[in-house]
């Protein structure tokens, strides 16, 4: 499968999906990957193998709703949209993400200061 340079850190995928769906209307899986890919300036690539299981999990947790609809190209696709519960979860995920980055930043600073010595 080649290098996995920009694979998404496990756990942040939920955050990214919720964020994506919270911004716009219902989207199918392919649109979600493309959106994340574009919004991150081609830095993040969502693996399909992680995306679909994640979508199912989130749907079961009640964060997403899914329904079959036709696309403009008249193909059957499963469209996902965010639920109110999902929006709450998004907030939780955002906070936890901020904490994580803060923590990591601290560690990195500490490492940097050690290296400076």
């Amino acid at each position: 499968m080649g290098a996995r340079k920009n694979d998404i850190l496990q756990g942040t995928l939920v955050l990214l999906v919720l964020e994506t769906l919270a911004g716009g209307g219902p989207m199918h899986g392919y649109a979600i990957t493309s959106h994340i890919h574009h919004m991150s300036d081609q830095m993040l690539r969502v693996e399909e193998g992680s995306l679909y299981p994640a979508l199912h999990r989130m749907q079961q947790a009640g964060w997403l709703r899914a329904e079959w609809r036709k696309t403009e190209k008249n193909r059957e696709a499963r469209f996902y949209s965010i639920t109110p519960k999902g929006r709450k979860q998004l907030q939780v995920e955002q906070e936890s993400w901020l904490r994580l980055t803060e923590g990591v930043a601290r560690v990195m600073r500490a490492v940097a200061s050690l290296e400076l010595r």
Binding site: L13, H28, R75
Partner: protein
Amino acid sequence: MMSWLVRLWNILRPGRLERELDRELSFHLLERADELQANGMSREEALRTAGIQLGNYRLYRERTRDMDIQQWLEGALRNLRHAGRALAKAPGFTATVIVTLALGIGSNSAVFSAIYAVVLRPLPYPQSDRLVTLEQFNPKARQPVIAPVRLADWNRLNTTFQAMTGYYTQDSSELSGELPERLTQAFVSRRFLEVWGVAPALGRDFSPAEEHFGAHGVVLISDRYWRRRFNSDQNVVGKRLRFAQLSATIIGVMPASFQPVRNVDLWSPSPDDAPFAQNRELTWYTGVGRLKPGVTLEQAQANLNAVQAALAREYPRPDAQISPVVKSLKESTVGDARTSLWILFGSVSLLLLIACTNVAALLLSRAAARQQEISVRFSLGASRTSVAAHLLSEVLILAIAGAVLGLGVAAAAAKVFHTLAGNLPRVEEITLDWRIAVYSLGCAVAVALACGLLPVIRGTRENLTGSFRNNRTTVSNGNRLRFTLVGVQVALAVTLLAGASLLIRSLQQLGQVSPGFDPEHILTFQMSTSWAETGDFKASMARVDRILDGLRGVPGVENATVDVGLPGVPSDYQVELKTDQGRAETEPKILAQGRAVSPGYFTTLKVPLIAGEMCRDQATVRQMMVNHAFANAYFAASSPIGRHLSQPGNIYVPASEVTGIVGDAREMGLDKEPVPTIYWCTYPFQPGTRFLARTHGDPALMSETFRRKLHDIDPARSVFDMKPLTEQISDAFAENRLRTILLSFFAGAAILLASVGLYGSLSYSVHLRRREVGLRLALGALRLRIVRQFVSQGLVVSSLGCIAGLILAIAVKRFLAGMLYGVSATDPTTLASVAVLVLAVSFLASVLPAIRAARLEPMRVLRED
């Protein structure tokens, strides 16, 4: 909840999910191919590339099957594996928790096994809830045994019983060994096996012909006797059994579980049509009945009352005075032991609660130490449920390991019951079977939830205040909870200890009671006698006299006597007496305890003579002694000496002359005040009569000499139940002893656990506050002050616990009320000494961590963080 339904749906419709996923993925593939094609690839190439990028469908399907229950189970197993690994890394913690739980769950299961076997499990007979005991109550002569004719009448006239029967026992001798061995024989009325609902394991029941007077002797033998004497011989039926002066044909072997009467090895028919069985005043059957299906005790009692009322019209003398008593057989068998056992169960449940609290506190500190790890898991997207499941798996592993170890404790405890409480009803049925194992596992799961939930809720709180910040901020809060838990432990331990101390005090008080007779240096025993022999008064009395004479001739023996009971062992034989002068109607009835003793009784037991003279051997007139309490109660104005007293209704005992007054003795039981008592001076000889001999030295050492001497005097009789009187009395209070010993053990374990909890919490507190302590030491604080601070923290917690525990002990005092002797349930001395003991132990538990805190190296601690 929702996700469970979805999972269930997925199990029921496994195909649906896969098809949906297939459709979704093929849509994805097409979209991707479109995009690639737009970038300049051929359609074919685009599809292939998209396919490669998407990888293998099957792979995704595997991964998507997360919603399957199988996956969920795998997750649970993974959790358990992880938990096992995590526990192995903390062996000290793991061992402490497992041992604590083993102690808690094990002792709980042990007491439960006793409760289950004795109280909860039905008696080992078919539809045993329909079995009842039958008694005839006569206010003048308190003997519950029934006249054979009356029992036959009851059985014939009632409409609520399927059948009634009765039995009596006597001891005989097995003469095949070197010395005669005790062999207990029961004589049973008709319908005996029908009432119990049990058939012989080998052979057959008695035939009607064999139940007639004068029929050839037949016998059913017990499984125990069959194994011991006949080596489990399958061809035993039809053999002739010779014992003592009798012989009978064996017609069957009873199953091993059939033990309605303790120690009985032989069952023989008792002919109800015997001429001597036709007198309505002669009573000897212990009655048992089987109710018809659906009949209640009350209905049976009412029915039997009506039957007896009819008999009273037909035979006014003596049936008008008699009333029938119906009781549940199980209730009569286990009734007394029930309270003791439930109290033990209550205390052992307190112990389990303490163990749980202790483990919860340990888990709390472990969760606190792992807060960082848990925060990281949350940040990486783990759900609260999964973190909770992970933490609970750890507790579950610990609890199950504790339960398994605890079963070992329970197995050992079953032996304790057998040795400590040999006369507990159904004690032989206490075993460790699968039900106890299931109960232990149930305990383990309950414990896991009870201990684990609190730390899990705290540990997985979603909004972890600054999980990546220094966790010092969350400390004070968690610590308060820990100390609350310690306080609860101390309180429960104090309650248990108070109960145990009160029981110990009661036993001590009982030991210090002055019984009014001297039970030391007395050897007691019984000799086998048959009821048939008692028909010949003269020969029987001569036999007893000959044995007493022989004993007095043994070197080292001071004196010897016989008594129908054992002085100091609870008994009750109340009689109503009449004087020859008559009494006014207004005067109270003369009620007294009656004892039939040989004239040497008072000198042998050192009961002092107060007035008159001792009754004499071979006196031509029937003589009687009374005690001080009797004289005071009924002849305060005059003197009873010289009066003739008779017992109306008792045809065996003619009027006797009172020759003297003796001191009061606690013969009805050491725990009871002496009551008015009369002593018939005679030579009691019926089965159950006790021989008592006063020896110069240790009575136990005389056993062999006695056995040989008795064999010389009467080689055909077995001698049994040979024990010093002190041992007999202490055996009579074995149930007291059992609950005292067990409760003390539980209380000790509880104190140990509580102090371990206090020690652990303080140590942890010292650990958390080491920076503060270090800082203060660096700033010049005195080490003694540090010690004092931590010790007082520990003592405050245990004092509060102590107070709560004492309040609890006083609140539940009514449970103990009937079991205490000579000490009140709120005895200040006892409760105060409990408090002092607990505070002393908590001081020790606090002082070690406190000293450790004071010994901290300030510089090292401050550099740590």
